[in-house]
Assembly symmetry: C3
Homo-oligomer: 131 residues x 3
């Protein structure tokens, strides 16, 4: 098991953790199996996303903002929107491991999404299963 | 494999199954691995969500309602909205198992979401994989 | 590991791959475990969905279209909407394997979703893990 500790700098932000996932798979020694990438936070998420274009990340964060807006929240604390974005985008992804590497597509990466930052410490757990 | 049987009481509803998932992991005897929590229904879902504030659950269900409204459905039967909510929120989650316990964050729980209730019997399958 | 190659015919489209997933599980010889169904594309996705009613598929694709519309995209290339739909619906699902078969519900199937077609070759990876 690998645990990443991330510091976020903005209210909402996507952090590319593709290389860290690749490294964790190599370190695990698993040749065939799956890698589960999971965050323990309820105002953050882990998603598979296009990794090449930062503009697309902005489009995504903007869309999510639109999506959770336009309603009054019962939840107090000012971060209801962050919770809803987290729930909609999901806390974990599972990636096949083939020939000792996560089977990412050419344009595909893994990202931690911050929805209630900045935060000094965000955690992501990477668990690689043989099989 | 553990199978939960749930009875739902409302049209839409979130049921906290965090303790049942913890129990299933302990019962499995698995110390390191993953737990997959899965529902067989297409008008329900399984999500990771903040577990402390019931208001936030109301915010979430309200947001989903808004999301699937505002269009005419081709599907007959009156539960098209439930199907769409189910597809958007997902039928399964995967949680790392560390030291014999699911690695939930402090505020994080697992919920079965009902989107076409009430129903006498909803099923959730918990599968714990060693690795 | 099983790799499916799919050809898509429309801009947006759902392709039922339930039978292929069943076949891959049988071929794997795994009796108890999980099946991870994963796509390497960032303008496609893999979802669990109701398999009986084509109208419901239309409702779903229409809802997703509405969801990502109404904003100007920073991403150039004309397929920003496809990327956003892909991110929202997810690149993978995990299904328990019980008694040698994926534990689908009665109405439940697995679908590859095309959001930027038509394409001559779309890939889906099916990885079955024993456990």
């Amino acid at each position: 098991m690998t645990k990443l500790q991330l510091e976020t700098e903005h209210k909402t932000q996507m952090i590319d953790i593709t290389d860290e996932v690749k490294e964790a798979v190599i370190t695990s020694g698993v040749k065939e199996g799956i890698a589960v990438v999971f965050t323990q936070h309820t105002t953050g998420s882990v998603v598979l996303f296009e990794k090449a274009d930062q503009n697309l990340h902005r489009d995504y964060l903007k869309m999510l903002k639109t999506y959770v807006s336009g309603q009054d929240y019962s939840h107090k604390g000012g971060n209801a929107a962050g919770h809803l974005k987290s729930a909609m985008t999901g806390a974990s992804v599972s990636i096949p491991v083939v020939d000792g590497h996560p089977a990412f597509g050419e344009w595909q990466g893994v990202f931690f999404c911050e929805f209630d930052g900045p935060r000094e410490e965000r955690n992501v757990i990477i668990k690689v299963i043989n099989g």
